[in-house]
Symmetry: C2
């Protein structure tokens, strides 16, 4: 009987965003990115390769997926089978510890956990850097979820040179996020299709790639200095420049909802009142507030004018990937 | 007794937007723009220069303004006094036929009417081109409101070369706008300050100026071809690229409200159902829908799911400036 490997990976939120591929096959991004891995949101995935199976069996939160639903996972497992030489179907059990429908980058923790569990189950012994390259093939942001704390994904120019590494872990200073989990709405466009449209049609895209490079340099310095205001300011501006690309595409699209605008305004107002807090957004309506732990109460109280307490989830810097074998 | 001149100017909505000055003193824009003058929204302004007055007296919708409130108008009148050699205070009566607080470019019709009435009252006899140069000094968009129909404002490089001219008037084909007049909220930033911040901080600004040039060429062709879909598509993309600049500024800002997002989505949905309609937005929450007259009912019906009938105002192509003397 083949061994079962279980991996646990945490999600991450980019502070300098990845937006746009330069190679969709190899999942090479147009620009590097920097993220913070969060403790509160994670995925646990077990993989067993089993020759007795007829095809991959994927359970997601205890529900067996139809082959059409697990196609992206099977394609990723094909890559592991090809590299390991182990040609057996896999039993995959994955549990997402992320609020239902929160859209909080579950593909980042999901493909990081799958890369780790499946490669080890297939007998490969990859180090963290090699794991981050492998996770990248499943989902760009998964590249960073192999590591804890502040992480940089180097864009690179081929499979070997595009990987993540730790900038700072553990994070021994007071920085956290408050995720504002908003009412899920139908996404106007997937992040894959959205970024492809942006790269193809936005006249601002070349300037984005340039400004991202500048932001990476500034963000590394802000993290080294443990400067919350600098980290937050760079992250907020970078995030809005990413969303500006979406508005500038043809046709234009955006991920904002009424609640998104409310949350952004609330953070802006808090800052005008001297609270050190900043917002960032990914390809969805949720807002993540970058702040210090000692401001949690004042920020939550202000946000509760508009949102229910259970919509406001505090997340601290989280750890890198862990694995167990059975 | 000096003569009283009354001028009536209509507002205009830009289809290729003006966003950013290259000379704040002379009000020279960074890029040219194209607009449609609208029949429904206008300003009527009477001016009499009167040596008996101690200072300018400005009545706005029958209310006497305090000097602090009429400072911008007096500064404009100073320019007219300087050019005409007539050094008398003025009595100004201006009435805005624009829904209260709609923020529908009332400075465009306002300064166009003021330029015409005050220059004629001061004894100057300016042709329309010269009037558009003069109106420009009051408010950039006023440059275009001297003319009716489709109008282009040439950016120029000095006072003489920065003026508007007619592209097509009368507009003898079926194009109109439906103004969606939304709940007025406090503007996050004035358009003057917003565009200054964009020019100073957006990494996308140089690409905006380039893309505006391309849009001008394409828009002229679309208007000449009387092609509603082309006019609408270019206008919508251009407007969102202007708003993208605001998101890309440091710090970011935006003029969207929840209702703005709703109106944009409604237009996008209507178009997905085969209705030939497009949206544009200026420095405020209101959405203007570009469409054909024969689609008025279907568009209004769809929008009335979200908005009251009195929030939806149909405006047809409007005329250029007119003046009467008494």
């Amino acid at each position: 009987m083949a061994k079962t490997v279980t991996a646990k990976a945490h999600t991450n939120i980019a502070l300098v965003k990845y937006w746009g591929k330069k190679d969709a096959q190899l999942m090479l991004p147009q620009n590097g990115s920097i993220s913070l891995t969060l403790d509160h949101f994670y995925t646990e995935t077990s993989v067993t390769f089993d020759t007795q199976l007829n095809h991959d069996q994927v359970y997601f939160n205890d529900q067996l997926l139809q082959p059409a639903q697990s196609q992206r996972i099977s394609r990723f497992l094909d890559l592991v089978r090809q590299r390991s030489g182990l040609h057996a179907p896999a039993a995959v059990k994955t549990t997402n510890h992320v609020p239902t429908s929160a859209g909080l980058a579950s593909s980042a923790s999901g493909f990081a956990a799958l890369a780790a569990a499946s490669s080890r189950a297939a007998g490969m012994d990859l180090d963290a850097t090699a794991l981050s390259r492998l996770a990248r093939r499943g989902s760009g942001s998964a590249t960073r979820s192999i590591f804890g704390g502040f992480v940089e994904w180097h864009a690179g120019h081929d499979d070997q040179s595009s990987f993540a590494e730790v900038i700072q872990d553990p994070v021994d200073w007071d920085i956290q996020m408050i995720a504002v989990v908003l009412k899920a709405t139908k996404k106007p466009i997937s992040s894959t299709d959205g970024m492809a449209r942006v790269v193809a049609t936005s006249p601002y895209y070349p300037a984005w790639v340039e400004t991202a490079e500048t932001d990476l340099t500034r963000m590394r310095a802000a993290i080294a200095a443990k400067d919350l205001a600098a980290v937050g300011t760079i992250a907020e501006t970078n995030a809005m420049r990413m969303h500006a690309l979406n508005l500038s595409a043809a046709p234009a699209f955006n991920y904002f909802t009424a609640d998104t605008l409310t949350a952004i305004q609330a953070v802006t107002d808090l800052r005008a009142h001297g609270i050190n807090c900043y917002y960032t957004l990914d390809a969805g309506p949720n807002v993540k507030i970058i702040c210090a732990g000692h401001d949690t109460t004042v920020i939550k109280t202000a946000l509760q004018q508009y949102f229910a307490p259970e919509q406001l989830i505090v997340a601290k810097p989280g750890p890198g990937i862990t694995m167990t074998e059975a």
